[in-house]
């Protein structure tokens, strides 16, 4: 599954070509030609780079085109005339050399990581995990911003899809009605039937609210009063009920 996900991104194309990007390709050329990385003959390497990305079909890939443009720019800069003893002159290749070395270093680390991962893959952890016996009591919440951001990302992906509404008959939802009642009673001590059931509520909503009220009354979170039949129902929060 993970491998599949990785294949989804554009690096897949580059994977096929056995090159991880323009720097990798460039290093390959330097190695093949046995060139000194600190003294790259830019004009020659730029021409070869262009030929290679054309033959490899990478001449449409932005990352490779950017590198090609960079090489041609350095080539042009090196052709500019300069005086014999120009102290301020900077080799236009310096930045490229720095990046190539940095990339090479990173590849060395990749070799280390690959070896470590291979060693770890060759060992299995315990697969059977005994089911926990008890419902865990509420323990401190561990929340990370990253988790929240990932959730937002999931939401955005889903929310971007066109909404499709299916009409289904709904079962009672007493739990949410309980939530609504509790929420109302958080705001004030006394409430009326109208406060917990919206105007024009569907039958399942009315029934859910009624069951919720009865349930909460049973749990002692509120009391229900109705002066006369069909009169307004008053809902009063019990002070001993659950705190907010």
């Amino acid at each position: 599954m993970g491998a599949y996900a990785l294949e989804q991104d554009q690096s897949f194309v580059v994977d096929l070509m056995e090159f991880q990007g323009p720097l990798d390709l460039l290093l390959g050329l330097i190695r093949d030609e046995k060139l000194d990385i600190y003294d790259i003959p830019i004009s020659r390497i730029a021409d070869q780079f262009l030929v290679r990305i054309r033959t490899l079909g990478l001449d449409q890939a932005a990352d490779y085109l950017e590198m090609a443009a960079r090489l041609l720019r350095i080539k042009a800069q090196l052709l500019l005339p300069r005086s014999e003893h120009d102290e301020a002159w900077e080799d236009p290749r310096a930045e490229l050399v720095r990046r190539l070395l940095e990339y090479q270093q990173m590849r060395e680390v990749v070799d280390v990581l690959e070896k470590l991962a291979e060693e770890r893959r060759a060992r299995f952890a315990r697969a059977y995990v005994p089911p926990s016996g008890v419902e865990p009591p509420p323990s401190p919440l561990a929340l990370s911003l990253a988790e929240l951001l990932t959730a937002i990302d999931r939401v955005l992906r889903v929310a971007a899809d066109p909404a499709v509404h299916d009409v289904v008959s709904r079962a009672l939802d007493v739990d949410s009605a309980i939530g609504t009642v509790r929420a109302v009673l958080l705001l004030r001590e006394r409430a009326r039937w109208r406060d917990v059931v919206r105007h024009g509520a569907e039958r399942w909503e009315i029934l859910s609210a009624l069951l919720a009220l009865l349930e909460l009354a049973r749990r002692g979170e509120l009391t229900l009063q109705q002066a006369t039949p069909f009169a307004n129902v008053f809902i009063t929060r019990e002070s001993t009920g659950q705190a907010a």
Binding site: Q8, D9, Q10, Q60, A61, A62, D63, F124, A125, R126, A127, Y128, P130, S132, G133, V134, P136, P137, P138, S139, P140, L141, A142, L143, S144, L145, E147, L148, L149, T150, A151, I152, D153, R154, V155, L156, R157, V158, A159, A163, D173, D175, S176, A177, I178, G179, T180, R182, A183, V184, L186, L187, V197, R198, H199, G200, A201, A244
Partner: protein, 180 residues
């Protein structure tokens, strides 16, 4: 232990389910059923005689290494003491929607998530991560939810503006190949 007993131990350890004897036998085609049985006996005796926290048991479906029951309670207690509780994906998504769209009513959240969020709202409210801040316009004047100061505290945010904008997030978390 003899080599076959060691192999069986590794295999039983890495299997998610009890392993039938035929499957254990297939680990080493050279070994006879009698050799497999005597290796199992050796493994069981090693666990029993050398004082181990685990034991080898034969269940209906096969053989399995299990922790001894007397340690279960201590292990569960230690896990609870150390492993913090995490919010479910559903709760996080609901919280994310409220954080970005507050104040927001339940119907609107359900519209975005496509599922009933009654239970989730309730538990977020119990955890004091959201609160009812008022009632909206429209049919039934729905309750509106918003995040609480505790929410900011839990995510180590100074204020809501520290959350990335939706468009930034898309760039940061999503595959986003440059235009060619």
């Amino acid at each position: 232990m003899n080599p076959l007993a060691k192999l069986l131990e590794a295999a039983l350890f890495s299997s998610a389910r009890p392993v039938p004897k035929e499957e254990l036998a297939s680990l080493d085609p050279e070994s006879s059923p009698a050799a497999v049985q005597s290796a199992l006996d050796e493994l069981r005796e090693t666990y029993d005689n050398n004082g181990h926290g685990v034991e080898l048991v034969e269940l209906g479906e096969g053989w399995q290494i299990l922790t001894r029951p007397e340690y279960t309670e201590a292990i569960e207690r230690a896990q609870l003491a150390v492993r913090p509780h995490r919010l479910s994906a559903a709760a996080l998504e609901t919280l994310a929607i409220i954080a970005y769209r507050q104040p927001i009513g339940r119907a609107e959240i359900e519209e975005i998530r496509g599922v009933n969020v009654g239970g989730v709202l309730k538990s977020l409210h119990e955890r004091a991560l959201i609160d009812v801040t008022g009632r909206g316009e429209g049919i039934g004047r729905p309750l509106l939810y918003a995040t609480t100061p505790l929410f900011l505290e839990q995510f180590a945010l100074r204020h809501l503006e520290e959350l990335p904008r939706a468009d930034e997030l898309a760039v940061a978390l999503r595959a986003d190949p440059r235009p060619i």
